[in-house]
Symmetry: C2
Subunit: 334 residues, 2 copies
Amino acid sequence: MTATIRDVADRAGVSVATASRVLTASRKVSAELAARVNEAARSLGYRHNAVARALRRGTTNTVGMIVPEIGNPFFPAIVEAVERHLQGKGRDLFLCDAQQDIAIERHRVLALLGRQVDGLIIVPVSATASRASLEEAAQRTPVVQVDRYVEEYPADWVGVDDDLGIGLAVEHVASLGATNVVFVSALLESSSARQRHAGFERTMRRLGLPIGSQQLLGDFRAEWGRTAALQILARKPLPHAVVCGNDEIAVGVLGEFRRQQVRVPEDILVTGFDDIRFAALADPPLTTVRQPHEQLAAECIRLLDARMVDGDTPVQRIAIAPSLVVRESTGGHS
Amino acid sequence: MTATIRDVADRAGVSVATASRVLTASRKVSAELAARVNEAARSLGYRHNAVARALRRGTTNTVGMIVPEIGNPFFPAIVEAVERHLQGKGRDLFLCDAQQDIAIERHRVLALLGRQVDGLIIVPVSATASRASLEEAAQRTPVVQVDRYVEEYPADWVGVDDDLGIGLAVEHVASLGATNVVFVSALLESSSARQRHAGFERTMRRLGLPIGSQQLLGDFRAEWGRTAALQILARKPLPHAVVCGNDEIAVGVLGEFRRQQVRVPEDILVTGFDDIRFAALADPPLTTVRQPHEQLAAECIRLLDARMVDGDTPVQRIAIAPSLVVRESTGGHS
DNA sequence: ACACAAGGGGTAAACGTTTACCCAAACAGC
DNA sequence: GCTGTTTGGGTAAACGTTTACCCCTTGTGT
């Protein structure tokens, strides 16, 4: 089929060693031979076989990344930032989607590991059930977790301080006079869900606000936001504010409120989390907690590089403080 | 580091051939030996090296996919559908982002080809400039294009009939009385942009409507929608309708109109294209042209499989007719 | 003239699998 | 008891690279 290095060597009338040396510039070769080899390679349309190279070298100049669900717009944003940071070093990124399923996640981990990626960036599906996959990955290649992490297993992580972030949102609505606040988020499966939930309770308690049965937990999707909004409307009185676990949920909540003629922010305040591209374009524009993609990606690559250089470097968990972006959904002006 | 099949064979006291046969179930092996081998593999934590296997077998059970920009929510939706359709056959999908850059796209193509993917699904960045990459890919592995295609190069494609789709949108607003219609879309780089643009002009002409300088072309992002909206407002009179090249643009247009106190649909009609998740949640909910993800993905995999079975099967271009989803941005009720 | 280093070429072994080929034993049919 | 087939094992070659090692030539300093 496609030409091998042996074909190139034959046509150039040199040994495969020389051909290889020319093509990878791994050693000095006389100008004349180099020209012959390059010409041969060009005329044959030679492309090196990365598989063979990987087998021999044991390294691939590729990093793998696994996200829980590519359809959640927060993840593509992170992926783009990571890509940009990988760009400089000429490394490739192979991305996989775990479809929110730990069995698929495991499959993807094994697929990437088997393909000898030089490192793995993972946003684990579950704070507990993803442990086996993570553990296996970590003992075979450098791994760093982003955004979400696996509990009780020491592996590098970089993310935003979810607890603090939700705190900012709660404090914000409280400062606007809200005392009856409901929290709409996802079931406590992922670390993000857990941390944000914990942050909500802690802050409410700190501010002396009642918690009661004010928590609706489903998943991180807009559809759940709609459902939750209906549940909120079903039981009177209307709370003062809805703090959402992420922007998708918040957008769903806003959509349903609009449909039900509930005015935001006049009748009720709404906040999100992540600051996805769409948050600023929602109606009303969404007050949210911004995740600094670029910084996250930068730290992530830094950690990965550090661990690639020295696998025994101490485990780090880097929590970056997020910031609140006030928009009209809590009365801010845009 | 990690155990090889030789380690397993040694520990089980068999030859590597037998070990391989047990582990891949490629030939009958006595129950007793099989048990010994499996136990050895288990206790050593053996994982087959996919790189070595790929080199030997020349096949990887993996398909690669390249999208122009993972941040555009239409692509993740397609990716998810493709994943679902790949699921059954246990094949892995490695996804790459071309960052709207044909140089990066080329790099990704080569990376995937070099890794011996069994097939490639690509949404080419450019209708013309992606040709070299596509051509190279096509002569090395089965390739199918989705959504966008490269012009003047025969390769399988499956997508929606963009031309027809825009026609539906234009006819719809025309049926509501619009005669002054402006088209906001992307520069004519990708086939989608070209087809949709052509569809707009053709339909306008067919309906006897004036085209004039009613076309604003930028890129497929919301930010451009905002800018375009401002340009539209700058020159009076306000047109009757804005037909957008995709939903992201439309959402940007809606956002800016809202900010500028222009009422949709009362003052002006707006339509999008794609029916991304967010379209139904925009304010007002967006009338748009729906792309049938599942069908696209199903056809895509079907084409890929066909070509994997027989590389000489005739090239097919499958255009699926999209449908119009009427929502409030053109006065529909939700 | 001689020792010695440097430059530039080739040979062949590795990387970890899978599999074509070979062979011994067991077994069936007569 | 003999032949032919099936079953289940091993040996070693391949997949396409890279690179350790070796060797010959040439240049250089004395």
